[in-house]
Amino acid sequence: GRHFYPKQHRSELEAIVVEMQDPKSGVKGSEQKLNVTAIPHVITGKDIIAWIANKMKTTPEESNAFGTMLVAYGYIYPLQNHKKLVMCNDTSLYRFQTPYFWPTQKWVAEDSDYAIYLAKRNIRKKGKLEPYEQAHYNHLHEWLNHKWDFIVMQATEQYKAGKERKKPDRVVFDCQERAYWILNRPPVSVCVCVLLCVFIYTNMFYQQAIMRSKVKSSVSLGALVKYITTYKNHDPFLAPCLPSNPWQTDNDTYWTLNMRRVDVPTKMRVERWSFSLFELLTDLRGRDDFKIFLKKEFSGENLAFWEAAEELKWGTASSMSAKAETIFKTFLAPGAPRWINIDGRTMGLTVKGLEHPHRYVLEAAQTHVFLLMKKDTFFRYLKSPVYKDIQKKALNPEPHNFSPAQLEQNAQNRSPGIHPIILWQQEEEEKAKAAAASAPVDVKAMMSKIDRKK
């Protein structure tokens, strides 16, 4: 079982307070006589300061400062002028605060507690709260609205329970509570309105954020699991590259086999195309294969449009209006040679936007076309002879098994690889060939041409 260790020590400040209030060696208290009742343990400021000066061997000024600190922290509270938390070196009256209301970093003065307190005070004052209290009340009523039933219920019950105590204790309790909240929610006359505006604004922001549709974590976590399951064998950190990871073995076969324009891609690469249309299109080799399929189906205009939109997005600013015009003539105009079948609303918005073209003017149409391809064409491609054919032909290299000596040799034989300029030149040649060979027009090649001209 758990061990119970009584707290052997308290903070130094608390230790001083405990000594200060000691009936024998502490500050001498007196009684506050009111009508037929008397409330004990009332002390004067000058007595407190004298005691501190004697105990800690400090000057009256230092003692006064120390006393004020005790009030500012909330170990002692003033009975008169309760809003001014200072120690006065005169006959001003003070009392010790109950330990529950002592300052502690562990327990923050909560808004819901403050709301309950204000509601209780509202009952006592019959709705006549002070202006700053009313401001806090209104703000909390909005901010903690979902808890308001609880706040009213708890306030009412605490109020009723308080009435069970004897008169003097009730008075003391009210003073204690009031002192605690003066300290933790000080009256602010000027800035409340500004603060309230800030609070209300942030509250509105959060309310809107709450109104947005939420995804259940079970759903999002499910999606994450699905992603991991799909991609884990393709992650070079989690699964080995075939034939080997060039960074580890200094043999770059892996890169050579996976270049942009290989005739025969690897099995892993082909598998990856089946994950999503996005993967298929992002890998240019995959996109090529998809184009072969589309040519057979005579439905290449969607992809052509999609590529044209990409060209517009990534191209030069100066080429934009020329491209926009070409796109309109080729894909969007009534009776266009490669008219794309998108819904009327999107078509209308796109055509209007093309009057003043910018990089993302085709975003809506491109997304629509992408979704059309994703829902229909993509799955037919995966079932097609084109894809099955390339799956069969795809290479599955044997894993390398280099000895340490071989690895050393690999390291010595490292070469810089093909220069990027050469790669680019090769790319341009291929595009030109494709442009010449294919009909209808390879829009991508044409667009790049426009880019280069400008």
Partner: protein
């Protein structure tokens, strides 16, 4: 009907929580005593009984898929009431452990803070327990033995609240309160018995019961 039973139990839990708060505030002060410790213990145990009963009832109500939308919204509102009460209770239990440890009773010299509060809290505890009078069992070890129990009870309550959060999917911020601002003023206790304002001292003779409150506040303010 399930709803009414729930509301009654929640009212009871709310009342006990409020009383417990009053008792904890007296800890460590000149109102502290063996009796107070025992009152705290009993009130707390009652609160836990009510907590378990409420939780069982509400979870079964919320699990029912056949309830109407309005009913569901109402049960969710009751759930927020319940969990708010539990939050408050849990904090006060933890605080009572701390303060109880800081101010032991079974020592040669007690160092209870002279706060001006000296009376007993029996009537508050009696209210919590819904009894006329409290009967105490003399146990001089109450402050140590009970604190051990309190520690394990706090763990139990924390665990219960964690389970609650996991099992019941209620978004507290989505609940709409039934009470408007100032609803506490309509409470039937607040009319008549509450103290008259400071101003009335000069005007008419306030009732003896409330007069002390006013005069005292007047001298303080």
């Amino acid at each position: 009907m399930g709803k009414e039973e729930c509301k009654t139990m929640l009212d009871a839990l709310n009342k006990v929580t409020a009383c417990y708060r009053h008792l904890v505030i007296a800890l460590g002060s000149t109102s502290d005593s063996q009796n107070l410790r025992e009152e705290l213990k009993r009130t707390r145990k009652k609160a836990q009984e009510l907590a378990v009963a409420n939780r069982t009832k509400l979870t079964s109500l919320l699990k029912d898929k056949t309830i109407s939308k309005e009913d569901r919204a109402e049960y969710e509102r009751l759930w927020v009431l319940f969990s708010s009460s539990m939050e408050l209770l849990e904090v006060d239990m933890k605080r009572s452990l701390e303060i109880g440890q800081d101010f032991p009773l079974k020592v040669p010299t007690r160092h209870l803070i002279q706060t001006g509060m000296t009376g007993s809290t029996t009537t508050v505890a009696a209210r919590a327990m819904s009894v006329q009078n409290m009967k105490y069992e003399a146990d001089s070890n109450i402050d140590t033995a009970d604190l051990r129990d309190l520690q394990s009870e706090i763990t139990q309550v924390s665990q219960m609240m964690e389970e609650m959060e996991m099992k019941v999917q209620v978004a507290p911020w989505a609940v709409e309160a039934k009470q408007e601002a100032g609803a506490e003023l309509k409470s039937n206790m607040s009319v008549g018995n509450s103290s008259v304002g400071v101003i009335s001292i000069c005007e008419e003779e306030p009732k003896e019961e409330d007069g002390v409150l006013n005069v005292y506040i007047a001298t303080c303010e």
